[in-house]
Symmetry: C2
Subunit: 302 residues, 2 copies
């Protein structure tokens, strides 16, 4: 299997996971979750989002979370910033990396950002410029790359265009997201063939959801296409309010298991990761949505 030797995992549980929780998780629990994750050997833990508390009350305590986390050496803690106001709050919180969130689908952009794609790019432009001026690293999310809950199919050309546009704005890395988890492995590789014809594969990540059970297979398909960075969430946290029956992000444990079992390094201690997931599941009062966590925890109980 033509997989990279090493893969960088971007743990998105504290942000993409917790923003989709029905209830608000206490700040100290979020902080402890981020700290536990950062001590598993993960090199990137997306800590929170400076989105308006009116829209995402779950993450209203973004500044407090950033003030209280440990900031383990060599671990990056990107935060999502939707606009300039979010960036200002992030800068005040002393972050080193931010992420902006766009979409390849016009219909999703309209519904989610209340803007056309072009308008969203104009919104991101000063955010990315100011972030870079301040010496920050910038991640760009391109969501709905395999399908959209509103318009259905998303033309590959639109994904390519949005990826190139966000790189041109100054993003260091683009995370291609199958937001509603409808893609299949062959589709992902066709998509990446088109995207990598216009954008360097080293600057691409994938972000797969598991609604149709394809998250791991799609992520591995991307690795076979040359991608070396993938987003995932401990315990399979997350979900998409726009896709009924949707499961969350690909579980980090399931990804790590697949990679280590295939001879690919991640730097992650799988046992420590399952510990962090089990702890968080206890806080949330429900079992993790990760087959590996489930199997390893059952084994420990024997």
């Amino acid at each position: 299997m033509d997989l990279p030797e090493h893969v960088t995992i971007v743990e998105v549980g504290p942000r993409d996971g917790l923003q989709n929780e029905p209830g608000v998780v206490p700040t100290d629990v979020k902080v402890a979750f981020v700290d536990r994750l950062a001590r598993t050997g993960l090199s990137v833990v997306e800590a929170t989002s400076f989105v308006s508390p009116r829209w995402v009350p779950q993450l209203a305590d973004a500044a407090e979370v950033l003030a209280d986390i440990e900031r383990v050496e060599h671990v990056r803690y990107p935060v999502l910033v939707p606009n300039e106001r979010g960036l200002e709050r992030a800068l005040e919180a002393d972050v080193a990396e931010v992420a902006v969130f766009g979409a390849a689908s016009e219909a999703f952009s309209a519904k989610n950002l209340n803007r056309t794609i072009d308008e969203s790019l104009e919104m991101f432009r000063p955010v990315v410029a100011r972030a870079r001026d301040a010496g920050l690293r910038v991640r760009g999310y391109v969501s709905t790359v395999c399908g959209c809950p509103y318009q259905g199919e998303v033309p590959v050309a639109d994904v390519v265009r949005m990826t190139v546009a966000m790189l041109e704005l100054g993003c260091d890395e683009i995370s291609l997201g199958d937001t509603i988890g409808v893609g299949a492995p062959g589709q992902v590789q066709d998509l990446l063939a088109a995207v990598t014809a216009e954008a360097p594969v080293q600057r691409l990540a994938v972000h797969m959801h598991d609604t149709y059970g394809q998250g791991l297979a799609n992520t591995l398909a991307a690795f076979e296409a040359g991608v070396t960075i993938a987003d995932s969430a401990a315990g399979g946290l997350g979900g998409c309010p726009y896709a009924p029956g949707a499961k969350g992000n690909l579980a980090t444990e399931d990804l790590v298991y697949a990679l280590h079992g295939s001879g690919v390094t991640t730097g992650v201690d799988l046992d420590a990761l399952v510990d962090a997931t089990a702890w968080m599941a206890q806080q949330l009062g429900r079992p993790p949505v990760s087959r590996v966590a489930e199997a390893m925890l059952a084994k420990r109980e024997r």
Copy 2:
């Protein structure tokens, strides 16, 4: 992605699934399940097992099931036969294909078959010979190919040896089973590289369980290695009593979704398959363990 153009799915839900149910499913429900599956476009539906009712009371009605199913044209209905007595019962039931069940792990063979691997081969020899004399097609299962619940690691050489031995007995096809679902995609490809050096890939199938969430990725990895036949179970039925926390077989729906979305044909109507799964889940009184079934059923409810 280097996938075959067409994949043959061996549906094992009625046998590998139902033999692991805690309760005994009524005969008419089993018959209806097999019939519903056979009408989805699946070309192979493993119908039952002629194992001793003392060991597997769940399938004690094997003869009745075979007498009552519809036998759709062009659909194969293999049945498991553990020994000569099982073969006799299968022949009386007018089957066209049988399967024998061996293991690559000595420890598993000892515990499950009460025999060394060599002794199990001697048990299979007259079964396969008589089956072939009667004009039957014969499948051979080689289980525990990626790991064993008793001895842990299973040397690749042992998998190769058992595969070759079962082909030499006269098996038409060998199904390589990750019985406890511990394999990873790279491991599966390494294993297949070794096996296909000694056995024709056209005569190999894979049979992956989903304990660690690797079932789909492992099956796709096998397809990339040239295999074109895979076992799976509608609704992810099944499980292994020897692996705590174990999930069942790879769900047929999840496999079909991945393949169709990647441009690979299976002949299966996914909607009809989800219907069959939903119906069976209702009979069993619990939801299917298939992300695709879950997502598609949730979508229908909207």
